[in-house]
């Protein structure tokens, strides 16, 4: 068979003999890569499907829980990834033009972008973990049989969110604790929000001054004991009077979502009383309920206590989906970084090739020391660290003795397939993040 390909003209080393031309070879490799990328898209498709199903069924969970994600970090990460995509595309261009030094530099910058992305991701993950937002039962919202698995965690996580909202909106979200007493809120809320604002300056809002109990309550703000004063029955007592005449139907500021018929029919208890007032669809937009929600909650997203039982039950699923999607994406970033490092090695000059062995070994050893500091140093970890150090010494020694050969740069304008394909992979990682970012961080 292979006889057919014994041409007279010289065959470049990079050209497999079942291809006629470099061009044809690159085309075939690219086609193969695209088929692989299609399977990657299908794999992520499963997670996007899980996302869609849960968001479709529980829109309010997503409105509530996405507040735990920090849009700023997400946006920075998007920018970092886009920038690294740009340097990668530039790198492919450099390899097409045979600019080897530029190519190595650009690949290193791309690698740095990937590392930056992972560092920011780690900061985010660490923040979640420290507030009992994690995968599985550790998650503060994880429930089995209607029972919170980690009640302390839930409280912790909710307080964290309250602090975060306060920072963002200037006033803490405080709709939930007296969500039942909404009858008087049309008027009360205004004054209350003001009392909140002025509290630190020692002003007591005039609207409240006439009622002693309210002034009392406002003073609690001065002390900054929000959770305490709200958690108890103080406010309930203070507002007992207007509550006894529930003339006006309560205004339920849950979200601007179109309610399904069964919710309107009163299946969801938290909504049953106020169903008359729930604006739906375009109507909610017209009535500007978003502004009223901010006035009421401090944010225009639902509070945890406002979620219907089913939704409270399933809140943790948002975080499971978040961690699965960003986690799988993060693994792809790490794999992409490994591939870029490999291509950098291939395209690098003798110095890079000499450095890679020792640097990689020392890097792995450092990582293992890090793991050891977290989980303790079992024997296998000591052995692995020893192996890494020996490997670093040996490869450094071989380079020093000039024994590790250097065959010249691997890529040329005729052959740059690995750069191109790794670039495609890296862009796909970017492409997936382009969808993950608005879906997870920018829910409105």
């Amino acid at each position: 068979m292979s006889d057919a390909h014994h041409h007279d003209h010289d065959h470049p080393a990079h050209l497999a003999h079942h291809f006629d031309t470099s061009e044809q070879q690159l085309e075939s490799h690219k086609l193969g890569m695209w088929v692989f990328l299609a399977t990657e898209i299908l794999m992520f498709g499963g997670l996007f499907c899980a996302y869609s199903v849960y968001r479709g069924n529980h829109p309010e969970i997503f409105l509530f829980a996405h507040q735990y994600l920090d849009t700023t970090w997400g946006a920075i990460n998007t920018a970092v990834l886009l920038a690294s995509s740009f340097t990668m595309a530039w790198g492919v261009r450099a390899s097409q033009l045979g600019q080897t030094r530029l190519l190595v530099a650009l690949l290193c910058v791309t690698l740095l972008g990937g590392a930056g992305f992972m560092v920011i991701k780690s900061i985010e993950y660490e923040g979640k973990y420290s507030h009992d937002i994690w995968v599985g039962g550790i998650n503060g919202f994880y429930q089995t049989g209607g029972e919170l698995m980690n009640p302390d965690g839930a409280e912790h996580a909710l307080k964290y969110l309250e602090k975060k909202q306060k920072k963002k909106y200037g006033t803490a979200g405080h709709g939930d604790e007296y969500g039942d007493h909404e009858g008087d809120h049309g008027k009360e809320k205004d004054g209350y929000a003001k009392a909140d604002d002025h509290g630190k300056d020692g002003h007591v809002d005039e609207a409240h001054a006439k009622a002693d109990s309210h002034a009392d309550n406002a003073e609690h703000h001065d002390d900054g004991h929000k959770e305490d004063s709200y958690g108890g029955d103080k406010y309930a007592e203070a507002t007992a009077e207007p509550l006894s005449t529930p003339a006006a139907p309560p205004v339920i500021e849950v979200s601007t979502i179109v309610r399904p018929a069964y919710a309107q029919a009163g299946l969801i208890d938290s909504l049953a009383d106020g169903r008359v007032d729930i604006p739906t669809g375009p109507q909610s937009f017209a009535t500007g309920i978003g502004a009223r929600q901010i006035e009421h909650h401090g944010s225009h997203y639902p509070e945890f206590d406002e979620l219907a039982p089913l939704q409270a039950n399933a809140t943790h699923i948002f975080f499971q989906i978040y961690f699965m999607m960003t986690g799988l994406h993060g693994i792809h970033v790490l794999i992409g970084m490994g591939l870029i490092a490999w291509v950098t090695y291939l395209s690098g000059g003798p110095i890079i090739k000499a450095l890679v062995g020792p640097v990689a070994s020392v890097g792995v050893a450092a990582f293992l020391v890090f793991v050891g500091m977290l989980v303790g140093f079992p024997v296998w970890l000591w052995v692995s660290i020893g192996v890494c150090i020996v490997a670093a010494l040996v490869s450094g020694g071989l380079n020093f003795a000039g024994l590790s050969g250097y065959g010249g740069p691997a890529f040329s304008p005729e052959y740059y397939t690995p750069v191109d394909l790794v670039g495609l992979y890296w862009h796909l990682v970017d492409l997936i993040w382009i969808f993950l970012f608005p879906l997870l961080y920018l829910i409105h």
Binding site: T21, I41, G56, T71, T78, W90, V258, P309, L310, I443
Partner: protein, 130 residues
């Protein structure tokens, strides 16, 4: 810039009649300035998609707007960073077909789960003792 030597149009042609291997980089070399402007466009769209979240178009419209921007960004990355604009059409077709199948998958799943939403609600209420 040096890319004037590689005009946009000599991207893609049959090599059978060339008869030589290598030597010609017939592949499209994207001008650096062009790549950079693509990057700027992507950054701009990222900024827009964050900014537009502050506006209230209603729950569904906000999602639609965010997804439309994401789609434009994805198309730009695919066409220019991933060279689909100058590639063999088959590569682009593979991408589009995979996206179509994902859409199909999600659509049917949503149709299915929509049928059960009421039952789930009722079951949750039973679970919470109502």
């Amino acid at each position: 810039m040096s890319e004037t030597a590689h005009p946009e149009h000599d991207t893609h042609h049959d090599d059978d009649h060339h008869g030589h291997s290598g030597g010609d980089h017939a592949h499209h070399v994207v001008p650096l300035g062009f790549l950079f402007s693509i990057f700027l466009v992507l950054m701009f769209l990222t900024f827009i998609t964050v900014a537009v979240t502050k506006l209230d178009f209603g729950y569904e419209m906000n999602l639609v707007v965010a997804m439309a921007i994401a789609l434009v960004k994805a198309a730009v990355v695919g066409l220019y960073f991933m060279h689909l604009r100058w590639d063999a059409p088959l590569n682009g077709i593979i991408l589009v077909v995979s996206l179509l199948f994902v859409t199909l998958f999600i659509t049917f799943s949503l149709m299915d789960t929509g049928q059960y939403a009421g039952y789930q609600e009722a079951a949750a209420l039973r679970g919470s003792g109502q």
